[in-house]
């Protein structure tokens, strides 16, 4: 495999060249570059501002006393004095009777991680086959795959539940993990990514006598990393937040996932919206960590090294 080099490019090199132009030493160009750079900053900041508002609202609501939850003022206690905010709402999430917050947290993380891991594996294999291998009937089979996404999932729920019962998977983590590990979505996504990798690489590998498995494992998979990372992010977040299927499948309180468990705060006992928001804010933390860690990989450009003879 030594003939093909895969070199990551430093993250600073975007598709568009950095703003300071070659003639940056001329004063006028310097000024223009300056305003262009800060114009971009402002634009991004304004957009980010608009997109961050719900999150800010969630955080502020999580710090309110119950009586103020419905008020139009976003600020807890209508004050900026942070010492008067209800920080103990966060402690209350852990101490409320009937709430097994840490257990549910662990369950959610575990399930989402397993699904992500398995799905990356199965989807990338299938996507490799659909994108990089030539075999008769390939596109037709793929179209069938694609077609399964077009039916609203709601109508498949009853048959699916019957299958789960016959496999004795009701109220188990396996019953949540396994069905989610095989999706057409992941296959489709990775196929599209693998299609954009030049075919010349396959030919070079074939000349080298590499097996299909090595082609997949050593060459295509590393090159498809942005796609894998994107799929990992989507899958993890999607399964972490999934509510419909776990709701039907789970029965024991100890096996609940976070979204199911948090429904408690909106029960007939009354809406404890401030606690719901506090719990949701804590629920978001792993997602942010996963995203911040993975997003660099997402944009770490892949430079295809020259294929040396």
């Amino acid at each position: 495999m030594s003939t093909i080099e895969v070199m990551p490019v430093p993250p600073t090199a975007g598709p568009l060249p950095p703003v300071p132009a070659a003639d940056a030493d001329r004063p006028a160009a310097k000024v223009r570059a300056f305003f262009r750079a800060w114009g971009l900053h402002l634009l991004l900041a304004i957009m980010a501002f608009g997109l961050t508002l719900p999150f800010l609202w969630m955080l502020l609501t999580s710090l309110k006393p119950l009586a103020e939850v419905g008020s139009d003022n976003w600020l807890p206690g209508s004050t900026l004095n942070i010492w008067q905010w209800h920080w103990h709402n966060y402690a209350e999430v852990f101490t409320t009777p009937g709430i097994h917050f840490t257990s549910w947290y662990a369950n959610s993380l575990l399930i989402a991680s397993w699904v992500t891991f398995l799905q990356l594996f199965t989807s990338s294999l299938a996507a490799f086959s659909f994108a990089r291998l030539q075999w008769p009937g390939r596109d037709r089979v793929f179209l069938l795959y694609l077609a399964t996404m077009m039916l609203p999932g709601l109508v498949m729920m009853v048959p699916n539940y019957q299958i789960m019962i016959s496999l004795h998977l009701v109220d188990t983590f396996t019953g949540l993990i396994v069905p989610a590990a095989f999706t057409a979505f992941g296959t489709f996504l990775l196929r599209q990514f693998m299609l954009s990798i030049p075919t010349s690489i396959d030919e070079a590998a074939e000349i080298d006598g590499a097996s299909k498995w090595r082609l997949y494992w050593d060459i295509i998979l590393p090159l498809a990393r942005p796609g894998l990372v994107a799929l990992a992010i989507f899958t993890f977040i999607g399964n972490y937040q999934n509510i419909f299927w776990p709701l039907i499948m789970l029965r024991s309180t100890d096996k609940y996932t976070l979204p199911i468990g948090l429904m408690y705060f909106d029960s007939s006992r009354g809406q404890a919206t401030q606690l719901l928001m506090a719990a949701s804010a804590m629920m978001v933390i792993p997602l942010i960590i996963v995203f911040v860690v993975l997003q660099k990989q997402l944009v770490k450009g892949i430079q295809l090294g020259a294929v040396k003879g």
Binding site: A67, T96, A106, V158, I165, F173, W217, L247, Y264, R269
Partner: protein, 517 residues
């Protein structure tokens, strides 16, 4: 890369094993009953009470343990889950159901008939409120027993009235009084030309007004929709006037404030607490939330809420509706006799007193509302005098909801709600909206009969009876009580003196006769 994969796999396996080991051991030496109910800390106490009650009753294993273990499966909010599980053969042994759910679940057929057990174990119609009995029976057979019973009343914040120099409403009052007092309050509370911040009442609907004016959703035999009626049109117009002209009631736009789902609490109670909603319609269970407000007020040294409970305003006759959260026994369960014992537990003193203390609406058995614990809760002197308003209303003016066996409640309420929206949005006038409601509901009934021919004989028979009722009424003659299956009209006819039999058969009699015989 290989190593990364291997490491991740190892970590995941390790974490799974660790999680499996820390999961509590759920194996049980005794049979396990699942109770599908809502997520609520009170259930923990109720489960513990049940197991104590079993021991007290001597229902124990040879080792002296309770004969079964009760576990809570919290999915009450999700009706779909219950149905999917039930038709798949894995429903909860006991399931909580809302007032309107019974007819659907009975139609699906997974409800166990508890009539005989109810007589044997003591949770039949004699052990609960007569007014709610129609909601527990179908065709003369009992299918459930209440976990609690609610009666809709108007909660009044006296401080709000006092603030604007007004006297709070009397115990019984008319809709004209309501409109007059309401206008005085909102005019005094809201400076002209500014956004309105204070409202008079929440929770009143055209349906409630129609109830007091003498018309309900379905006709006497529940074979057709009765809403295409001048009285209902009047109710629609009144609600519109109160909402958009007089601003007594919050509009849909006002209400689109906070609550994710129309249901418990939401913004209404917060506004009530803040003095921006003078009154609202709800059962005794509103206290669960109101007590929280009072707790905060106590902590912050503010005066407690000054509350009063009055009847909803009436047009022709005072009336209100009663509903229930009631437990059914799953026909596919493995431990039906034990589930029936749970229903008996719901009729027991232990359980009833828990509801009395917790203020989760009225206890299933009316006898426990005569206790001091109910009338004068020692920890809440500020509530004295409120509680009996609910028990008295349940005995005098409460009527069960009319649920037609020929259409699913969810379908009917969607069709009616859509037309109501269209009217309130100014797309249709009131007569058109009322006509469409009746038309669409009747069409849905016909479709249901088409799909489910087994309903047809009963329907045909009732249609004939309806014709005879209509003929008698046209001549102004009384109607035999047994002909009327709609609990609303049974009550209404009795109050108006239109029943052929002696007046003893009121909504207050204790024999279940909901049924189409």
């Amino acid at each position: 890369m290989k190593y990364l994969f291997a490491v991740i796999a190892l970590v995941l396996v390790g974490a799974s094993v660790a999680r499996m080991l820390t999961l509590p051991d759920m194996t049980s030496t005794v049979p396990v009953l699942y109770w599908v109910t809502d997520d609520n800390p009170a259930r923990v106490e109720q489960v513990a009470l049940f197991e104590k009650w079993l021991v007290k009753k001597g229902l124990v294993t040879p080792q002296g343990l309770p004969e079964c273990e009760l576990r809570v499966d919290t999915a009450n909010a999700d009706a779909d889950k219950k149905v999917i599980q039930a038709v798949s053969g894995v429903g909860g042994d006991i399931m909580d159901t809302g007032t309107a759910d019974l007819s659907y679940y009975h139609a699906v057929g997974f409800l166990h008939d508890v009539t005989n057990a109810a007589h044997r174990l003591g949770f039949d119609a004699d052990h609960t409120w007569p007014a709610i009995v129609p909601s527990l029976f179908i065709d003369g057979r009992q299918y459930r027993f209440p976990c609690n019973v609610y009666v809709n009343m108007l909660w009044v914040n006296e401080a709000t009235f006092a603030k604007y120099g007004l006297k709070p409403p009397p115990h019984r009052w008319t809709i004209d009084d309501f409109g007059r007092l309401g206008k005085e309050l909102v005019d005094a509370a809201n400076p002209p030309g500014q956004r309105r911040k204070v409202f008079f009442a929440d929770g009143l609907s055209a349906g409630m007004l129609a109830d007091t004016l003498g018309v309900s959703t379905y006709n006497e035999t529940m074979t057709a929709c009765a809403l295409n009626d001048p009285r209902y049109i009047k109710a629609l117009r009144l609600i519109y006037q109160w909402t958009y002209q007089d601003h007594l009631l919050p509009s849909a736009a006002d209400k689109a404030d906070f609550a994710t789902q129309p249901g418990y609490a939401g913004a209404t109670l917060q506004l009530f607490n803040a003095g921006r909603m003078a009154m609202f319609v709800m059962g005794r269970y509103a206290l669960i939330q109101l007590r929280e407000f009072n707790k905060t007020r106590k902590e912050e040294g503010q005066p407690l809420l000054q509350m009063e409970v009055v009847e909803p305003p009436y047009g022709q006759l005072p009336i209100t509706r009663t509903g229930t959260r009631a437990a059914v026994v799953y026909q596919g369960g493995k431990h039906i006799p034990m589930a029936e014992e749970f229903l008996a537990y719901l009729a027991s003193k232990d359980y009833n007193m828990q509801i009395v203390r917790d203020a989760d609406a009225l206890p299933p058995d009316p006898r426990y509302t005569q206790t001091q614990a109910f009338l004068r809760p020692p920890n809440h002197p500020e509530e004295w005098g409120l509680h009996e308003q609910f028990s008295r209303a349940a005995r005098t003016i409460a009527v069960a909801y009319d649920i037609s066996p020929f259409i699913l409640p969810v379908t009917a309420s969607r069709l009616i709600g859509q037309e109501n929206d269209a009217f309130m949005n100014g797309m249709e006038d009131a007569p058109t909206a009322a006509r469409h409601m009746a038309l669409y509901v009747d069409q849905a009934i016909q479709r249901n009969l088409q799909e489910n021919p087994s309903l047809k004989p009963a329907y045909a028979k009732l249609v004939k009876i309806q014709a005879r009722i209509d003929a008698l009424r046209r001549q102004g003659r009384p109607v035999p009580a047994a002909w009327i299956t709609n609990p609303y009209y049974r009550f209404y006819y009795q109050r108006r003196g239109w029943l052929a039999e002696s007046a003893t058969t009121s909504a207050g009699s204790s024999t279940p006769r909901v049924c189409r015989r």
